[in-house]
């Protein structure tokens, strides 16, 4: 029993030593409190509204697919580049451009117009090929696959103005609008159908896909894709070819199209399921 008590004392004291060292031998750093989570519903402050705009711009709105410094497919909006100051700052000058024929009177209206009616003014050099910069390749953001609500478009404008460092003129939407806009802008959920997935990743912005109403012609038309896919790259089955074209688009570029146009990070952004659905759709429905 004596031994037992001795070792118990020994163990207890040893643990206490470790406890003491942890408490008094080292400084007690109080770690940072968890960051405040953004409030998604209810009333929004302007800052949150702007942040929401940023999220849409970089996510759901698919804007950065083209408006990025890498591809050069569209004018830069947030950064200043060779197109001049960020859009929030240069919008006011656009209205004064002799080629401008739209209805906007203010910078805010101009950005709004560009989002819902992209062809109202096309920046020189960025029109659809062969249209002499009268038709924009950009899809209207309030329709189709992107389908932003008014509140969301407003948020994007606010974000663009804030990024440019100019006065944010957009008014906070009242009532239910932000609440409705917010969940949509929350983290993207996995698409449930191939059609949805096409929309989510903005495929129709550039490609025309059989069975889907609108489509662009920046990239190849997918009519007949499944029958020709097998013959594109030696050694790749049609399915593998389509997969490669999505995951690493620059591995093979169809003749007549610019390499580097298709975003290279789609593979990372898509969930496995979405990729599956898309491939399946393209295999089955493009004849």
């Amino acid at each position: 029993m004596k031994v037992f008590i001795r070792i118990i004392i020994f163990s207890v004291v040893l643990s206490l030593c470790y406890w003491g060292f942890s408490n008094y031998g080292i400084p007690q750093v109080i770690p940072e409190a968890p960051p405040v989570e953004e409030k998604i519903s209810g009333s929004m402050t302007m800052d949150q509204y702007i942040a929401l705009g940023g999220k849409i711009f970089n996510g759901k709105g698919t804007c950065t697919l083209c408006h990025n410094p890498v591809g050069g497919r569209a004018p830069l909006l947030v950064e200043s580049g060779k197109d001049g100051a960020p859009i929030g700052a240069r919008a006011a000058d656009r209205i004064k451009d002799p080629r401008y024929k739209g209805k906007a009177k203010t910078a805010e209206e101009y950005i709004y117009e560009s989002e819902v009616d992209p062809s109202a003014f096309v920046v020189a050099g960025f029109g659809k090929p062969g249209t002499n910069d009268t038709v924009s390749p950009m899809p209207a953001t309030n329709k189709g696959s992107i389908g932003l609500s008014e509140a969301e478009i407003g948020a994007v404008i606010a974000y663009l103005q804030k990024s440019a460092g100019v006065q944010v003129t957009v008014k906070l939407p009242t009532g239910a609008a932000p609440a409705a806009a917010a969940p949509a802008a929350a983290e993207p959920q996995s698409a449930k159908t191939a059609e949805e997935a096409f929309g989510k990743h903005g495929c129709t912005t550039c490609h025309t896909i059989p069975g889907i109403a609108e489509g662009g012609d920046v990239g190849p038309n997918f009519k007949g894709l499944s029958s020709r896919a097998g013959s594109r790259v030696k050694g790749l089955s049609p399915k593998e070819y389509i997969m490669q074209s999505i995951v690493s688009p620059d591995a093979y570029t169809v003749k007549g199209f610019e390499p580097g146009t298709m975003p290279a990070d789609l593979g990372e952004k898509m969930t496995v399921k979405e990729l599956d659905m898309i491939i399946k759709y393209l295999m089955e429905k493009t004849g």
């Binding site: 040893l14 406890w19 080292i26 960051p35």
Partner: protein, 635 residues
């Protein structure tokens, strides 16, 4: 009377074990059924069949089917797959409050205790199996008896583990229902497998234990060993499976940004941290088991009345310590791998661990590991006293001790020094021109490697104590070994110093050649020794039992420090997730989402360690109780 006592014990133990196992299962099953039974219209069968446990409850409103407006069944797609839900966003109010309980502390302590016992229950069968095998191979009865003695302890520990596991799942369900539902939604299948495996393990354990005396001849002994092997296989699988949940929480995989499960359970299991954690825990379990057994032996040694008993428990303590050190030496490397994967998974998480609030935790860790090394070495040195012929090697110990303590000092010198304002001005800033060098990774890696090499050297000297090599090439062999150790040490130190002159990203890679050097030294010199001392002349037997009492306290130090260290590492692994239940996916919005200070954590760990010690004593006491009855009965 004696017979009755024995039977009684067996009965109680058996009932206890099976009762807790059943309870455990019921908890698991209930956690799966619970969410579904809320939603009465969903039958049990499709839920299981489709791995869709459908989070229910008021706040998890968008139940899988709501979107489609058909509440009876989940939305079906082309291939008949169910859609999974994103990780719920929950608020403070969604965490149930049970009066009188702090949910975090309760879950923390219970989970930690479950892990302690889990490790013990996993480690002891490995230990027992190995020893039984050794006994069979050497025909030394002592081994067999020791193995038998230990599996008995394992029985009680097994029950405690099961009860704690049940308690833990009960607590998770009641304190963190949404979290548990989400996890069950993804890992439902594995949880069922887990429960089944648990049955398998129980079965093997019973057969293994109760069949010990019956199955000890010829073929049946082999059958018995196979049973032991199966027991271990089940145990390991259990651990590996439960690791998936932990590694998923730290580094989720198989889900998308919103936490929606892709349906590929293998992808969810095979997260980036899964294997590092598996390896780390496996090795740590061995060391942990060894150290606990060592403490047991030490206790028995200290309270032994006869020389015979003393010799037996001395020998047992030595064997256990050997296994503990054996498991302990590679542990830092497994830790490095884990840390490397953590960095690879998220640099954020890596910096949080090494540079942020937890930087000081690694100083505590250094003190603990340093104490372990000192304790283990001290035990070996003391042990040399009972071996005739060891006098040849004792003079070397003073150098070893200087090197070990020196490395230890380097290891715990923190990067950020605590200085009074006066000292800051004397040093000329918060960065110390000399000690600053010791605070960075290059120095730490070097110190650890040298520490390991020195410990191994201690062990080698111990092994050689009563032997004189008779091989013809002994002097060449010795020279080779000296060269090996010297060259290796120089290589490790040079690499460490070189680390200061190169960019950090290359420097990280230097730890690999350092580790390789250490391993090379250990392996090559072991092999050399093996050949050299084949048929060596003995200078005398090891006089088991002639060991000072002090050395036994070193074994206690090992056990307590190791337990404490496990608690600490458990804390940091968990705390790295910060305010996330599932890192970056499922946010912890409870009141306890903040990370506590290290002092606070140390308090909780200490409490957990005390409870653990108490429970272990209980387990040993029960085992002892039976042994006494057994002895009485046979008299």
């Amino acid at each position: 009377m004696g017979f009755l006592g024995k039977g009684l014990f067996k009965g109680v133990s058996f009932r206890f074990t099976s009762l807790t196992a059943c309870l455990f299962l019921i908890f698991f099953a209930s956690t799966l059924i619970l969410p579904i039974s809320h939603n009465a219209s969903l039958s049990l069968k499709p839920a299981f069949a489709t791995e869709s446990p459908a989070p229910a409850g008021e706040h998890a409103a968008p139940v899988l089917s709501k979107a489609e407006g058909k509440p009876e069944e989940g939305k079906k797609e082309g291939e008949g797959k169910f859609t999974y839900q994103p990780a719920p966003k929950i608020k403070v109010e969604d965490y149930p409050i049970v009066k009188g309980f702090n949910s975090r502390i309760a879950v923390w302590i219970v989970a930690q205790l479950h892990l302690f016992f889990g490790a013990f229950v996993l480690a002891v069968p490995i230990f027992v199996l190995v020893i039984e095998g050794v006994g069979l191979a050497t025909k030394d009865e002592r081994y067999d008896h020791m193995a038998h003695e230990f599996i008995k302890v394992s029985m009680t520990a097994f029950s405690i583990t099961a009860s704690l596991g049940g308690l833990l799942s009960l607590m998770l369900v009641s304190f963190y229902p949404d979290f548990f539902k989400y996890m069950a939604g993804i890992f439902g299948k594995t949880m069922i497998i887990y429960a089944l495996l648990f049955f398998g393990e129980s079965f093997c354990l019973y057969v293994y234990y109760y069949g010990w005396d019956r199955m000890n001849e010829g073929f049946s002994k082999w059958l018995h060993l196979t049973m032991g092997l199966m027991l271990n296989v089940f145990g390991m699988t259990l651990m590996v499976l439960s690791n998936t949940w932990v590694s998923f929480m730290m580094a989720p995989s198989g889900i998308d940004d919103a936490g929606v499960f892709t349906g590929d359970i293998w992808a969810a299991i095979r997260g980036p941290l899964w294997n590092p954690i598996n390896l780390h825990r496996f090795i740590a379990n061995i060391a942990f088991g060894g150290s606990i057994v060592g403490a047991y032996a030490a206790f028995k040694f200290l309270s032994a009345k006869t020389d015979e008993e003393k010799a037996h428990y001395d020998w047992m303590g030595y064997t256990a310590n050997f296994i503990a050190i054996f498991g302990f030496l590679p542990l830092p490397f497994a830790g490095y791998w884990l840390m490397k994967e953590v960095y690879g998974y998220s640099q954020q998480m890596g910096i949080t661990a090494m540079g942020g609030a937890f930087a000081w935790l690694f100083i505590i860790q250094a003190v603990l590991i340093g104490s372990l090394f000192l304790g283990a070495n001290y035990y070996l040195w003391c042990g040399m006293g009972r071996i005739k012929g060891s006098e040849r090697y004792t003079p070397a110990i003073k150098y070893l001790i200087v090197v070990i303590v020196g490395c230890f000092l380097v290891w715990f010198t923190p990067h950020t020094l605590i200085m009074t304002s006066k000292e800051v001005t004397q040093v000329g800033g918060t960065h110390h021109p000399v000690l600053g060098f010791l605070g960075v990774m290059s120095a730490k890696n070097t110190a650890v490697n040298i520490l390991i090499v020195s410990t191994f050297l201690s062990f080698m000297l111990y092994r050689r104590s009563n032997k004189i090599a008779t091989a013809s090439w002994t002097s060449t062999g010795n020279a080779l070994q000296v060269a090996l150790f010297a060259g290796g040490a120089i290589n490790i130190v040079t690499l460490g110093v070189y680390g200061y002159f190169i960019p950090a990203n290359i420097r990280i890679g230097l730890s690999i050649p350092q580790v390789m050097t250490t391993l090379t030294i250990i392996i090559v010199s072991s092999v050399l020794d093996g050949f050299m001392y084949k048929g060596a002349k003995s200078t005398g037997p090891i006089e088991w039992g002639k060991m000072g009492q002090r050395s036994q306290y070193a074994l206690f130090l090992l056990a307590v420090s190791f337990t404490w260290l496990m608690g600490l590492m458990g804390y940091v692994r968990s705390a790295l997730r910060q305010h996330w239940h599932v890192y970056t996916v499922f946010r912890d919005n409870s009141l306890d989402a903040y990370t506590p200070t290290l002092g606070y954590a140390a308090g909780i760990i200490t409490i957990a360690v005390y409870i653990f010690i108490a429970l272990v004593i209980f387990a040993f006491w029960i085992a002892n109780f039976s042994a006494k009855k057994h002895a009485e009965a046979s008299h």
